[in-house]
């Protein structure tokens, strides 16, 4: 072939080359853009999060979320606090605190350990104090009774101003109590007579509280939540009423100018009247009086821990545990509760090491709530300013545990139903329009925004799902009585949960009506019900919601892995005389396992990071107990109680710290710390998933 001088490979169209080049740079740009974005995010988190983790160390994840107060302390001498709290101070303050003249001293404390005898009677508050000082004890009781005498301590001489009626009641019940001179005085007061029409009216909490003291018959549509004191709720006035109210009630509930949303009245009349008030004084001492007297006195500023409305607690159950109180509290307990009998009392001493120090110059100090309590016992502890910053102390143990619980519950549900559904679709169901429709539905479900799942979970699991219980909620959507069985729960639970026992002869609707007029939240009439009342905001509801959210992903990937198992395995197994399920179980599922495993770990990382579905169904911003703490039941019901708790969750916690609390330089690092930990957990999970997949893949091949 003759050699031609012309280059056959010469460039022909320079425009094409240009196009190539632009496309190349466009694609490259997109790639680099993604890489840069990703590294910016990661670097930002690592850059801001690492110092927090370095400073807090492991305690950042082994500690419950902590709220610190920032105090400005003046230079001052001689603080004395328990060494434990002093160490907490050092821990909470990474920066140097100017401390000098450190010394440690020992202090002796007297403690009394004792047992409570059966049949003892004790006031509510005292019981709670005992339980607080003896963690883990939970004393059940089944009866309340008003004993003849209750004790209280008056620390200073005190003057009382009572109405005549109150005084005569005291003189009747406790003739010996008042030794001092009694003076009388006449007052002219003005009551108001108001007429209110039947209807529904918005009222404030303040108006509601004052109306409780009046004779008005009314019912609230909703209750006032503790954390929203300014909320306005609807009240229902069933019929026209004319009542006489004191002026204080009048001004808070009916007066136009003052109350934020007053009740409308059709007529107001003055009804002046005369009132006699009496005055006397009691010297400081320890007194024993009748419950009636104590009730009157406590309306006038006496402090005690008895419950004069419901009566004292009768302890009928034998308490085996030995209880411990410090000696002062024990003496007070015995004095205030004349009907409390203790046995096996033993005194012992414990020494506690205290740290003495002084602060050299003015500085800023961070303290958590319980340490602050202890520090403020020092007489010279007078910070010039004090400001609390929510969650500025870090600690994410609660959220981590909560998320773990949610993920476990969710995965148990999702894997069980997901594998079952995938097996059904791939192995049993006829291939046809039915399976196609289901797949299409699932595809769409996977695209539903997660907040929709949250709302769905709220409607279905939190508010509607059925519960099997002998104490169903009054406001349940539907009560289906099943069997008559069992006794009511013990009184303490009844009181704590607002359960009212009603006559077993009443029909369900009558029982519900009776209980609701008594203001009950739940009722008991000896029947077990299937009650459509929802599970409440709890792990179970959250787990189910998350499970429904990941199910499409799980089912799709399980089906993929089932499809990947060669048909030959099924045929070989069937040809050997295996039933359908036998061949699925022994010749299909084991070989789909690696795919299912990967899918489920990917599902876990997705579920762990979701905020919206758990926001309404399971997560709370603040909870001091870990899920297994504070459960008093045993056996299966303890398991149910465990599942029926709300939890903190990591993504929700980050949302709270980053967006729902007031931001400051003390809280901001904590959100980065939480995010960093979260990211590490997710990365670890992914790594485990890849490792497991490779391992299982390596073992099984065909």
């Amino acid at each position: 072939m003759p050699h031609s001088t012309k280059n056959p490979f010469a460039k022909k169209q320079s425009s094409l080359e240009k196009k190539e080049k632009t496309l190349f740079s466009l694609f490259a740009f997109c790639t680099y853009f993604i890489i840069i974005c990703a590294s910016c995010i990661f670097l930002n988190i690592i850059w801001n999060g690492t110092p927090v983790l370095m400073q807090k160390g492991l305690s950042f994840i082994t500690q419950k979320p902590e709220t610190l107060a920032v105090l400005e302390m003046a230079k001052s001498d001689k603080y004395q606090v328990p060494s434990e709290n002093f160490n907490n101070l050092l821990k909470s303050n990474p920066q140097e605190i100017p401390i000098k003249s450190l010394s440690v001293s020992e202090k002796q404390f007297q403690f009394v350990s004792f047992k409570i005898k059966q049949g003892s009677i004790i006031g509510d508050g005292y019981l709670l104090n005992i339980e607080k000082d003896n963690p883990g004890t939970h004393i059940k009781f089944t009866e309340r009774k008003s004993p003849k005498l209750l004790g209280f301590n008056l620390e200073n001489d005190k003057q009382f101003t009572l109405s005549k009626k109150e005084l005569s009641s005291i003189q009747k019940n406790d003739p010996q109590l008042i030794q001092s001179e009694i003076t009388e005085k006449k007052l002219s007061l003005n009551n108001k007579k108001v007429t209110i029409k039947a209807g529904e009216y918005p009222i404030s909490k303040e108006a509601h509280d004052s109306l409780l003291k009046s004779d008005l018959i009314f019912q609230m549509k909703q209750s006032f939540p503790d954390d929203e004191p300014d909320k306005i709720n609807l009240t229902v006035i069933p019929h026209d009423q004319t009542i006489t109210v004191s002026s204080s009630v009048f001004y808070s509930a009916f007066d136009d100018e003052d109350a934020s949303s007053p009740l409308p009245t059709t007529s107001i009349e003055n009804s002046p009247f005369q009132k006699t008030i009496t005055t006397f004084s009691l010297p400081k001492a320890h007194y024993k009086v009748s419950p009636e007297t104590l009730k009157i006195l406590s309306n006038h500023g006496i402090k005690h821990l008895h419950n004069t409305d419901l009566g004292s607690i009768v302890i009928n159950e034998e308490i085996k545990a030995s209880l411990t109180l410090d000696k002062k509290a024990y003496t007070q307990l015995i004095k205030d509760n004349p009907n409390l009998v203790t046995s096996d009392t033993k005194e012992h001493q414990e020494s506690l090491s205290y740290t003495n120090f002084s602060i050299e110059k003015d500085c800023e100090v961070q303290l958590n709530a319980s340490d602050l309590d202890i520090f403020s016992k020092n007489p010279n502890f007078k910070p010039s300013s004090k400001k609390t910053h929510s969650y500025s102390g870090g600690g994410i143990l609660g959220p981590i545990i909560g998320t773990a619980c949610l993920v476990i519950i969710c995965m148990v549900i999702a894997l069980f139903t997901g594998i079952a559904a995938a097996t059904y679709l791939n192995e049993y169901a006829r291939k046809g329009t039915f399976t196609k429709t289901i797949r299409l539905a699932m595809l769409n479900l996977a695209g539903v925004p997660s907040i929709v799942f949250g709302l769905f979970g709220l409607g279905l699991f939190v508010m509607l799902a059925p519960v099997f219980s002998n104490t169903p909620k009054v406001e349940s959507k539907l009560h289906i009585p099943i069997i008559s069985l069992g006794s009511p729960p013990e009184l303490r639970t009844m009181e704590a949960e607002g359960i009212v026992a009603v006559d077993p002869d009443l029909s369900t609707s009558q029982a519900v009506a009776t209980a609701s007029t008594q203001g009950a939240k739940k009722f008991h009439n000896g029947y077990y019900y299937i009650s459509f009342q929802g599970w409440g905001t709890c792990m179970l509801a959250g787990g189910f919601t998350l499970a429904i959210m990941v199910l499409p992903v799980i089912i799709t990937s399980c089906e993929e892995s089932l499809k990947a198992v060669p048909m030959g395995f099924r045929e070989a197994s069937m040809a050997l005389g295996a039933t359908k399920w036998q061949s699925i179980r022994t010749a299909v599922l084991p070989y789909a396992f690696s795919g299912i495993l990967t899918a489920s770990i990917l599902g876990i990382t997705r579920v762990a990071g979701e905020t919206a579905p758990i926001m309404f169904t399971a997560a709370v911003a603040e909870k001091s107990d870990l899920p297994w703490q504070g459960i008093h039941s045993s056996g299966f019901s303890a398991f149910i109680d465990f599942l029926q708790q709300s939890v903190q969750a990591l993504p929700y916690h980050i949302f709270t710290v980053a967006g729902r609390i007031p931001q400051s330089e003390y809280t901001r690092p904590m959100q980065y710390g939480s995010v960093l930990v979260f990211m590490i957990i997710v990365l670890l999970l992914s790594a485990v998933s890849i490792y497991l997949r490779n391992k299982v893949r390596g073992k099984i091949k065909w």
Binding site: F569, E571, M574, A575, L576
Partner: protein, 251 residues
């Protein structure tokens, strides 16, 4: 042993027939081979005998009846699971489970609920010996079956099939994925197995059919063209088509 009487079969609820009026009797303890061009329905007929076609939802036998050991296998009283325990099957693509050799052979027995270790041990040894594999694998019963060579894997599948002691073994092109030496071994095995089992084998190899089978059936486009003694079919076919196919003029 197997009496196929005027069977027509369709994969799509009778719209098109893959098998058309097939009748043949397969004698006991003999090797019968099915030959014919690809797509003529050999596998389909084979899978009718142990009702593996049940797995295809739209499949049905439109006419005729198949009797195995005197029982109509498509009658209501017949449980396909029980039927398959009596009719083993070996597939074209050897498909041992990704388990140990031992577990593969014991699979069928375990499915039937046999857990006794000794019974299983004996059955595994008997089956592996029966499949002429025992000497090759006796030291590595716990190793994965996937570590065996192709021929060994196919013989393992035969061992797996005979472990449940069926009366009949169906083989769908058992040697098509094997090299000549492995094929020879499997063929040898088949001639040995004839003593105990009734064997039906689908094959594309004329030589193989003539070497190992007592009877041969030639199918073409879903029809049974000719069926008889292997010698007769190969040396003296009565139909022109059979002769063309055997002599390699088409197919």
């Amino acid at each position: 042993m197997i009496n196929i009487n005027n069977v027509s079969f369709s994969y799509d609820k009778g719209k098109t027939e893959v098998l058309k009026n097939i009748s043949l009797d397969i004698p006991e303890k003999k090797v019968t081979s099915f030959i014919g061009p690809s797509g003529c329905g050999k596998s389909t007929l084979l899978r009718c005998i142990n009702r593996m076609n049940d797995l295809v939802e739209t499949s049905m036998i439109t006419t005729g009846q198949i009797d195995v050991m005197g029982q109509n296998i498509n009658s209501k009283e017949v449980d396909p699971i029980e039927l398959r325990k009596h009719i083993g099957m070996v597939f074209q693509k050897y498909n041992p489970f990704p388990k140990s050799i031992y577990d593969n052979v014991a699979y069928g027995l375990r499915i039937q609920g046999i857990k006794n270790k000794k019974t299983l041990d004996q059955a595994v040894e008997r089956s592996l010996r029966g499949a002429a594999l025992w000497d090759e694998v006796k030291d590595r019963l716990k190793d994965s079956a996937l570590g065996l060579s192709g021929g060994q894997q196919q013989r393992l599948c035969i061992a797996r099939a005979i472990a449940v002691q069926p009366k009949i073994i169906l083989m769908d092109e058992p040697c098509s994925a094997l090299d000549p030496i492995a094929t020879a071994k499997v063929e040898e095995l088949i001639t040995e197995l004839r003593e105990e089992f009734t064997i039906v084998i689908v094959t594309h190899s004329m030589q193989q059919a003539s070497r190992i089978s007592d009877h041969t059936a030639f199918f073409y486009l879903g029809e049974l063209i000719e069926y008889g003694q292997t010698d007769t079919i190969f040396q003296n076919p009565s139909k022109k088509r059979t002769e063309d196919y055997i002599s390699g003029r088409f197919g």
